[in-house]
Symmetry: C2
């Protein structure tokens, strides 16, 4: 194994807590009454369908920042709110919440430990500038950041795994994907990568039973990135 | 200014010393008598012409590793040597000398200091895997590595400056290029970037007078990356 690449949203960072906090600030500034956690969930629920329209060829590739911004308009519309109620700068600012999500407590230490013996980087649907902002703000010491705007493909498309491998000069089998999502691991394995499951039971918020338990059989199955570093 | 991006060969690393050392080892292993410094110079002299054939459209984009490997065959042929005298693995191995060039003494410290307030990365004609190997071996703590294989363009083509800017979500004017080569700085300025000259009088070996003195007028002119960090 030469490299350990990571799914990011949910695996390395706590998107729900980070987005809900930004939504709470936004709501306070604009005098809105809303459930920030539910808003975050609604925003996230539009993520996979939006990427699927790219993967099926229904629309050309657009960076995740663009998809998130469109999805935000959709969430607001469902609440009876329109972009005109806020002005574009305020919504662009809220959209950047996805650039500054808080890492899970073990993420920076685990990545730092793995970095001694492996190339470490994200293998995320995030665009490069999003992943870069997140890394600098959260102290994630990636060796390399090749966002989905470099591969021009969204997971679980095979190209999303194969293109970074090629750019790193590695065979797929020299790379391990670490992710909290089994569909992501299954696609990575299909592309020839090794697969490590990282349990993140709090990803979808507290009190949702069953989340975080692997049903598949993976090369490794751990409950933190530090544990992954210890095992490798 | 949001980001400081660096020319690499000559500016951040000492290509001549690194390549000559690898050539010396190679010559020893194969019982060859040759001047390792002159070999390094001959190899480097084929660099710009090879990239120019890409920039003019004479051939499609090929990563720098491929161009270096072709150029190596040319240098050997000039010495009356053929690839068949060594076997391909030995030459591929020698070609990887460009991945492991030694940083100048101030490079890692200067980049570390700049990283506190700016995005730091290479803006090099090297491909991503080359720059990644070099960073890990030399302790260069880049925030992001977008090689020429990401922009699919070689400096001084405008696209080589504008594509990384776009991928970082920055305007060209928010980026400073730091380089020891004035033609590189001139092209960066034409693309809208700020330009810092770093003097590297030893780049072409000791005793070559005149190297390392800027003739143009640049935003900053320094003799090390640590000095650049102090001034910014």
């Amino acid at each position: 194994m030469q490299a350990v690449l990571f799914d990011v949203f949910g695996t390395v960072v706590d998107w729900r807590t980070g987005v809900a906090a930004a939504v709470r600030r936004f709501a306070g500034e604009h005098g809105l009454e809303l459930d920030a956690g539910a808003f975050a969930d609604a925003w996230r629920s539009r993520y996979v369908p939006a990427m699927r329209r790219v993967s099926t060829g229904e629309r050309p590739f657009a960076p995740l920042d663009v998809l998130h911004r469109e999805n935000l308009d959709g969430v607001l519309a469902d609440l009876g709110l329109g972009p005109g109620d806020f002005g574009p700068a305020a919504l662009d600012d809220l959209n950047r919440a996805w650039h500054f999500l808080p890492p899970w407590p073990d993420s920076a230490a685990g990545i730092t430990a793995l970095k001694r013996n492996y190339i470490v980087g994200p293998l995320s649907n995030g665009n490069t500038s999003l992943l870069l902002d997140m890394a600098k703000a959260g102290g994630l010491p990636w060796d390399v950041i090749l966002g989905s705007d470099v591969s021009m493909a969204y997971k679980p498309a095979m190209e999303a795994y194969l293109r970074p491998a090629a750019m790193l000069g590695l065979e797929p089998g020299e790379i391990m994907l670490a992710a909290a999502h089994e569909a992501d691991l299954a696609a990575a394995r299909e592309a020839g990568l090794a697969a490590a499951f990282i349990s993140r039971p709090l990803e979808r918020g507290p009190g949702i039973p069953g989340a975080g338990v692997a049903t598949g059989s993976w090369d490794l199955s751990v409950s933190s990135i530090t544990e992954l570093a210890d095992l490798m």
